[in-house]
Structure formats: C-alpha cells, structure tokens
C-alpha cells in the first residue's frame, strides 16, 4: 500500500516537470505565431509589371469578368462565325448584307459570347474582310479568386494543358475584375507563364477590326 502511494507521488512529480517544459515551449511558440501575425501586416508586397514587349509565343486569351476568370474561347467562336459568313456569301459579295442579317437572326455562341458576323471594307484590300462582333452573354462568369487556387480548378487544369515555352496568356480585364486579375496573373506566373493584359470597360463589346490597321488587333474593342 505504501509502495503504491510512493510510486503514484513520484510519477505525478515527474510529469509536472515535463509539463512545465512543454508549456514553456508552447508559450514561446505562441509568441512567435503572434509576432509573425503582427509583422505580416507591415510587409510590403511587390507586383512586377513588365514593359510592353513583343512576344514570339502564341497568346491564349483569358477574360476577367464579374470578378471571375475564364477562358472565353474567342478564337474558336470567331473561326466558326467567319466560316459561316464565308460559306453563305460564297463568291457573290452582293450577298453580304443578306447573309449578315440571316446569321444575326441566329448568332453563333459559346458560354460567354455571341458572335455577329461582319464583313468590313478595309483599306488596301480588294475583298471584304470577314470578322465578327462579339457580344457578352449576360451573367456568364467563371471562377473567383479562391476557386482558382484549387489544383482542380478549371483555370489550373487549362493552364496545365498549355506549354509556357510556346504560349503566353493574355488577360482581357473588365473594369469590375481587377482583383481577380491579380490572383489569376499571380497563379499563371507561378506556373511559368508570361502574361499580358488589357483593360476593358465592364460592358464593352468586342469587335473585329481590319488586319494591320493602326492600333487594331482583332480582339480590340470596337467603338460603337
């Protein structure tokens, strides 16, 4: 009986000492966490912006709209639209107005844009230049800043399919989506991509311009 009591007392004393040490270590760690938390608020982050430079890699367009980001697949939509107009018009250019009207009644579309085919008279070109005006699909959106951080996000899966040595990403940034743009660009850079960007008004329609015109690229906004 006495032996059992003695052993119980000794074990309790030993554990208390250990507990003291552990508690002290815990306390120190707590102080460290608090210090890191406080000092983090004073850190200065840096965003690096490149000067405009031409790139030999192929652009892949991403759009930031409604504070979400997605791949609008404009190339594919534009190709389909131009192809439909070309097939309708054939060799007879007088059919252009009729074909434009016909195709505009049931415009081609994807999840983010509808395409209205247009034939433009461009300086220095004998034949009309086929392109399309791209109208936004109302309410269309992609993934927000938090969703794109997941490796399973559509954006990350899309970027993982691309090759940073052959492609670079170009963000078309609507005025309501500057915040998500920073997250998406940071992610793209982390995955090794160089990035370009262009700001657009929130509700601006995209439209095709004449090739090689001053200041025009096919995806540049069209003045309306």
């Amino acid at each position: 009986m006495r032996n059992r009591q003695r052993s119980s007392v000794m074990s309790a004393v030993g554990l208390d000492s250990l507990s003291d040490i552990v508690m002290n270590v815990m306390g120190a760690l707590f102080f460290m966490v608090i210090y890191v938390g406080l000092s983090a608020s004073g850190l200065i982050g840096r965003i690096t912006t490149p000067l405009g430079t031409p790139s030999r890699t192929k652009p892949v367009f991403l759009e930031c709209r409604n504070n979400t980001v997605f791949k609008p697949d404009l190339d594919e939509l534009l190709d389909r639209s131009v192809s439909a107009l070309s097939q309708c018009v054939g060799p007879d250019f007088d059919r252009i107005p009729g074909c434009e009207e016909l195709l505009n009644r049931k415009p081609l579309r994807n999840a983010f844009y509808t395409a209205r085919p247009r034939a433009l008279k461009c300086p220095g070109m004998d034949r009309p230049f086929a392109t399309a005006v791209l109208d936004m699909v109302p309410g269309a959106s992609g993934e927000n800043s938090y969703q794109i951080q997941s490796p399973d996000s559509v954006l990350q899966r899309e970027l993982n399919r691309l090759d940073p040595k052959r492609q670079h990403v170009v963000f078309m940034v609507r005025s309501d989506s500057f915040a998500v743009f920073h997250s998406a660009r940071s992610l793209a850079r982390k995955l090794g991509f160089r990035a370009g960007w262009e700001p657009f008004e929130k509700d601006r329609t995209l439209g095709g311009g004449c090739p090689g015109g001053i200041g025009y690229q096919w995806w540049m906004p069209q003045q309306q």
């Binding site: 309790a12 983090a40 840096r46 912006t49 960007w197 700001p199 001053i214």
Partner: protein, 252 residues
Amino acid sequence: MHAARHRSHGPPSFFPFLSVLLCVLGVLMFLAAGLASGSLRSAIAHIRIEVEGSSPHDRAPIFLECTQDGARSFDDRYKFNTALEEGAIKGAKDIEDLKWSGTPYTDFLAALAVGRDREYVVFVVRPDGIKTFEPLRMLIVLRNRALCTTSAAWKVVDEDRTTQAIPADLSSKVQTEGGVFSFLGRMSQTERQRLQNALGSEAAAMVDAVYEKSQRAGQCIDHGVELVPAEWRFQKDASGMGRFVKSEETER
C-alpha cells in the same frame, strides 16, 4: 484515523488535466501555424509596383495614375486631361494627321523621348480610368510607329528598279517589303546624297522624306501598364515612389 485518511489521498495529481490541456494546446498550435503560413501572403497589406527586370540604377519609371478625373503622376509633377488627345485621335484619318506636340501630353511625350535613357512611363489604371488610359496609351503606340520605328515604310514608284539601284554598301540598310522599302536607322547626309544619285531625280523627294523621317528615328518611348483595384489606396512613402494599401475588401 483522520490523519491516515488524509494521507491516503496523497498529493493531488494534475496529470489528466494537463494531458487534456496539452492536447488542446497542441491542436491549437498546429491550427495557428497552418493559418499563419497560409494567410501570410494575403495579410500583406502594402503593395509596391515595380518594373520587371529593373534595378535602382536603371531608368526611373514615371507612374501615371489614370482615373476618371484624368491622369496624374504619383509625385504630382504631371497632370493630364485627355480630352484634347481623345479628340485628336478620333479626328485623325491617318497617322500622318496626328501632331506630336502642342498639347501638354504630347509635349510630355516629346520630352520623354529625348530623355528616354532616364525615364519611361508606367500607366497605373484604376477601374474608372480606362477611358482616360486608352487615348494616352494609344498616342504612345502611334507615336512610336510614326517616329521611333527603326524602320519606316514609304511607297516606291518602281520596286524592281529601286531594288537594283541600291548601292551595295547601302543594301544592308535598305530592304524591300512587297512594294515598299524600309530605311533602317538614321541616314547621314552622305548616304542621302548617294541614295538620291543611285535612284535618280524621280525618287529625290522620296529620299528627302526618308531622310527627314530617319532623323527622328529612335525616339521610342517605353511604357508599361498595371491595373490597380479601386480598393487599393495610394500612399506616399519615404522613398518617394509610393505604395498601395490594400483594404480588407480587396481580398473578399
């Protein structure tokens, strides 16, 4: 008897209590450490814009913040209202119609082109400043095309004749491009004379034009663009460059 009962209880043992406490603290520590490392990046409240690849010894950027009220530099040295520039771009049918001086902004660009070894422009665009930014940036692009390009193209009356007539030692500077030829770099007076002699009087005026243009070649203006959310508040600091302070809403 009483003393014996008291002794049988022995000193109180804190073991179960301490075990539970330690477990709770351990779990809390793991949570705190995980959260601290995960949120460190988002906890950064101050943002400074830097130009990729630049160092303090390089040229200095002039940050032009574009808002709906116009464009102004961080140090308030420059303030531009874009109405004049916007009107000039819309009114011009061709790049040749544009004037490269006469407004505060075009004069600023002209000075920048001369001092391009020292300064360049970075547009800091706010969501409400896109309409301000577009004509300002467009003028730089157009100006670079008109004045800075290392090659500028002019139509040639007779391409075959021109191509053949170019003296061999000038051919490295002249190249044909489907009906136009480009003069690369700055032409000297001697080169101008020799080119006119080679091409004949028919092309003399054209060579003069090439010469005049080439004198302005090299006036390139580098520029960058950064997009800054409305919630990021600009704050001047001791470095004179300034920084942006994120509000909490930015990350939500």
